[in-house]
């Protein structure tokens, strides 16, 4: 019931949005729709939180053994909530931007929300794949049509990159499907698929590359900074706040429990890649002058950590990933909002051209500093909870012998992230104003509202994360039990 609504509401309103030609009207319509989605999602979390409400099943491609099965467990709840929260926030934050052909813009936004919801809700591999691509296509159109100068080439790269990945995944899905006992795409059947070790091995990589490109994990990341840089900020928020979570989600739901043996065998390799990626991205982030690129690289580093934590198979790490997926989404959206605000007024994102904004816009500065601190995982912000659990998990991995090494190397990024984040704050907000930044005005009410909400979320989760942890505990247990049963060693 709830899942179906979560998918159908944005889908229908998105299609309808194509026909609302007035900019104001379509904006309001989109906001209205996303708020409804949010309400539905919250209802699912609170009042209607019963198994019967959270799952739905219908006939689809019967002959192929694929059904329209959607449902939400703890992880699904968290990510749907993130999607549901993110979109209204994004819309409000970018309320003052105006777009050519606004109806198309908002329609595509809503469609991508549909895709994202679908991905997080699907319990059927083929359905999952459908939504996976459905989320991608609107994003492609959004970036290519409303992006920066080099948008066409850059988004094209992004598109082809992810498309190759997802095709590889498709092969993996098909292979698994053919090896299920009942020829079905259902997740449960995938668990039962009989595969030899070798088969598991290469299917693992088929899946992993798809997810790795999405996350992105080094060395599959080069699309990301360019795309983030060139996309309109609202889309960047969707991409980085929600869409990259698809990769992690995919790994957790479709890769790790389905191919436990391969996960176990390749875990260290993946973790190593992640660690390299984390340090690599952090070092590069230190060199960036463009705010968007900086945040993009920082995001790569953070995603690397989460990816690593999944593959070391530990309850803390897994739990950390769950909560951090949400946190990272919230935090990075906050960062983008700030960038958007600055760019809209200053027409530049170059840190070297900015400076002294704290004098001109103290409100913005304070909110940014809190968000930025959350980005470096300072205690009592939400990201601390996540990163603490992640690192604990990695350090104390029961599977990987290299846990402490990984944790220590990954820990270096804690320092590096402090370096580049503080650098950014310093260059943008501190120092004296120049002729450009002297004209900056402080933020408006709607922006203050959005950032305020984000900050409250950041702090509340940072201080009292228990509800979240309890929500995802069940999922974590299930996944870990799947991961561990098959290789008792």
């Amino acid at each position: 019931m709830i899942p179906v609504l979560l998918i159908v509401v944005p889908l229908l309103s998105g299609l309808a949005a194509f026909f609302i030609k007035q900019e104001k009207a379509v904006k309001s319509w989109a906001l209205f729709s996303t708020v409804i989605t949010l309400v539905v999602s919250l209802l699912g979390l609170t009042v209607l939180n019963k198994a019967a409400n959270l799952h739905a099943d219908a006939e689809w491609l019967t002959a192929l053994g694929s059904r329209f099965t959607v449902g939400m467990d703890g992880m699904g709840q968290v990510l749907c909530l993130l999607t549901a929260v993110a979109f209204p926030l994004i819309l409000v934050a970018t309320w003052n931007s105006s777009y050519k052909n606004a109806h198309n813009f908002y329609a595509f936004m809503l469609l991508s929300q549909t895709g994202l919801m679908g991905v997080f809700l699907a319990y059927d591999a083929l359905l999952f794949y459908f939504f996976w691509e459905l989320a991608l296509i609107p994003a492609y159109f959004l970036c290519s049509q409303w992006g920066g100068e080099k948008r066409i080439a850059v988004t094209f790269k992004f598109f082809i990159y992810t498309f190759i990945g997802s095709l590889l995944m498709l092969v993996g899905i098909i292979y698994l499907y053919l090896h299920t006992p009942d020829q079905s795409f259902a997740l449960e059947s995938f668990y039962k698929a009989t595969l030899t070790n070798k088969e598991q091995g290469w299917i693992f990589w088929l899946f992993f590359i798809a997810f790795a490109i999405k996350m992105p994990v080094f060395p599959f990341h080069t699309w990301q900074p360019d795309t983030y840089e060139q996309s309109p900020t609202a889309v960047t928020m969707v991409l980085s706040g929600v869409m990259v979570k698809m990769g992690l989600f995919g790994v957790i739901r479709w890769l790790v429990p389905v191919l436990p043996l391969a996960t176990w065998l390749n875990g260290d390799t993946v973790a190593l890649l992640s660690v390299i990626g984390m340090i690599y991205a952090s070092l590069i982030a230190m060199q960036q002058d463009d705010l968007k690129r900086l945040i993009a690289y920082s995001s790569i580093a953070h995603m690397g950590l989460m990816c690593m934590a999944i593959f070391v198979t530990s309850p803390q790490g897994m739990q950390g990933v769950m909560i951090q997926m949400f946190n990272h989404g919230i935090n990075i959206i906050g960062m983008w909002i700030v960038v958007e605000l600055i760019e809209r007024q200053m027409k530049t994102r170059k840190m070297s051209e900015l400076g002294g904004l704290a004098q001109q816009a103290p409100g913005l500065a304070i909110l940014l500093v809190i968000v930025a601190l959350a980005n470096v995982a300072l205690p009592l912000t939400n990201a601390f909870i996540g990163e603490f659990l992640l690192f604990t998990g990695v350090f104390n991995s029961s599977v990987s012998k290299m846990g402490p090494v990984f944790a220590a190397c990954g820990g270096i990024t804690i320092i590096l992230s402090a370096v580049y984040t503080l650098n950014m704050i310093q260059k943008v907000f501190f120092g004296n104003t120049n002729t450009l930044t002297g004209t900056m005005k402080d933020i408006r009410f709607n922006e203050r509202l959005v950032l305020g909400v984000l900050v409250i979320v950041i702090l509340v989760i940072g201080v009292y994360p228990r509800p979240f942890l309890e929500l995802t505990q069940g999922t974590v247990d299930t996944i870990l039990s799947r991961m561990i049963i098959k290789h008792p060693s």
Partner: protein
């Protein structure tokens, strides 16, 4: 059988329609009636009602597979006529004759989808080919069209020679032209059968433009009047595939393992050459020609895999591919400039045209939610299920990714680039039809079952 007889008769009717009416609209109407009639009788036959009791002496064999395909082919032609029929008038004055030829071709299509004897295959293929040579050359003043016709003709008859040699060798080995008789015997591939098989493979590969026998395709598609290119690239090609599959499945299915490698090589070559060459094209029409080679590569997966999934898949693929290609060609015909630049900024001038074209292209590229995806899905699933050709699957995937490049170039031109695309006048009906076609593409993409179930429900 219904379809064969009716289409032949209607061909004659069309031939004479030109005498009774000079009005092209009337002629088109007659043709559409004929097509509708064809669809109806074919569906009737699917339901078990045969209008003509003819003893075919085992020459033809109608099963759900061939009948379903016939329906698809007739349906596609119907849509094609609706969308592009009007544009035939611009090619030349003999519209009734064109329609007559098209009906004869449909007769050939029906034969080659249901042959059970190499003789009928040969005749069917020839009935399809000979009118096509003509249609290619209908734009008589246009040297390109002339050239295409001559090339097509020379190479086509060359491949006919090859095919006949193949048939002969098979006959020499087995003493019969009947598919069942050929399939009889051991699973061993004797030298003569093998040589015959290879020659047939070459000839059929030529018809479906598989590499390295594809060279005629770009030139002919490019040179032929666009209206007929559209027809050629869809119905004829699909029919070629159905015949191909039928031949190899029924006659050589037993020894599949022994010729799989060769077909796999052909498939890979087709995919790679088609996709890679398409990347560099400057003309959308030519790009579509190469892309049709690439699509042929995907359809060849059915032959490589040769299992139930891929058989279903091929049917579905032909439908998905035909509908999308007819759509995109219908849009292309309306353009004044066939280069990519010619599409710049189309979205602003003609949003409906651009949007539907985008959907067709997405379908060709195999994006989920469109028919093209399900088609590719079936093909890949079939190949994976086969288990021996995973390397081919990977090649296929990489090529699919390449194909994104050139399909999306059109989308980019339409949506993201500035420019004023010159197009001809488009009527409201035309737009409505395009939307209908796009809707078909999407519905097939989300509920492929509604087509494939027909394979089972009627029998």
């Amino acid at each position: 059988m219904n379809a064969i007889v009716i289409s032949a008769i209607w061909g004659v009717v069309m031939m004479f329609s030109g005498i009774f009416s000079k009005n092209n609209a009337v002629i088109r109407g007659t043709a559409l009636t004929g097509l509708a009639l064809l669809i109806v009788v074919n569906v009737m036959e699917m339901g078990g009602t045969s209008l003509f009791k003819v003893n075919v002496h085992g020459m033809l064999y109608f099963d759900s597979f061939s009948l379903l395909f016939n329906t698809i082919a007739f349906g596609s032609t119907f849509l094609y006529t609706l969308l592009s029929g009007r544009d035939m008038d611009r090619v030349g004055r003999s519209t009734p004759d064109y329609f007559a030829l098209i009906f004869f071709i449909l007769c050939g299509v029906a034969i080659s989808s249901s042959f059970n004897s190499l003789l009928m295959l040969f005749l069917g293929i020839e009935i399809m080919s000979i009118p096509l040579y003509i249609l290619t050359g209908t734009d008589k003043r246009n040297l390109k069209s002339n050239e295409a016709a001559l090339k097509y003709f020379l190479m086509g008859s060359f491949s006919t020679g090859i095919m006949l040699m193949g048939i002969t060798l098979l006959y020499g080995a087995k003493g019969s032209f009947n598919l069942e008789a050929i399939a009889l015997g051991t699973g061993e591939l004797t030298p003569m059968v093998s040589a015959g098989l290879l020659l047939l493979l070459v000839a059929m590969g030529f018809k479906v433009s598989a590499a390295p026998f594809h060279f005629w395709t770009p030139d002919v598609y490019d040179g032929a009047p666009t209206v007929f290119t559209s027809f050629m690239a869809t119905v004829i090609k699909s029919a070629g595939f159905i015949a191909f599959l039928r031949l190899f499945d029924d006659a050589f299915g037993e020894m599949h393992a022994q010729w799989q490698l060769v077909v796999a090589v052909v498939t890979a070559a087709t995919l790679i050459i088609g996709n890679i060459t398409a990347v560099f094209q400057q003309s959308v029409k030519r790009m579509l020609a190469y892309s049709s080679i690439a699509q042929a590569g995907f359809m060849l997966f059915a032959l490589v895999a040769l299992n139930e999934l891929s058989r279903q898949g091929l049917i579905f693929y032909t439908a998905a591919y035909s509908v999308a290609t007819i759509g995109i060609f219908a849009v292309l015909i309306k353009m004044k400039d066939y280069t990519f630049e010619g599409f710049n900024g189309l979205a602003k001038r003609q949003p409906v045209l651009a949007a539907t074209a985008a959907i067709f292209l997405l379908s060709l590229a195999g994006i989920p939610g469109t028919a093209g995806f399900m088609a590719k899905f079936y093909m890949l699933a079939g190949a994976v299920a086969n288990g021996h050709v995973l390397w081919l699957v990977i090649v296929g995937i990489l090529c699919a990714a390449i194909s994104i490049y050139y399909y999306f170039r059109v989308i980019q031109a339409m949506y993201f680039k500035e420019g004023d695309a010159q197009e001809m006048e488009v009527s409201g009906t035309f737009k409505a039809l395009l939307v209908l076609l796009a809707a078909i593409v999407v519905v097939l993409g989300i509920f492929p079952q509604c087509l494939l179930d027909k394979l089972y429900y009627f029998f």
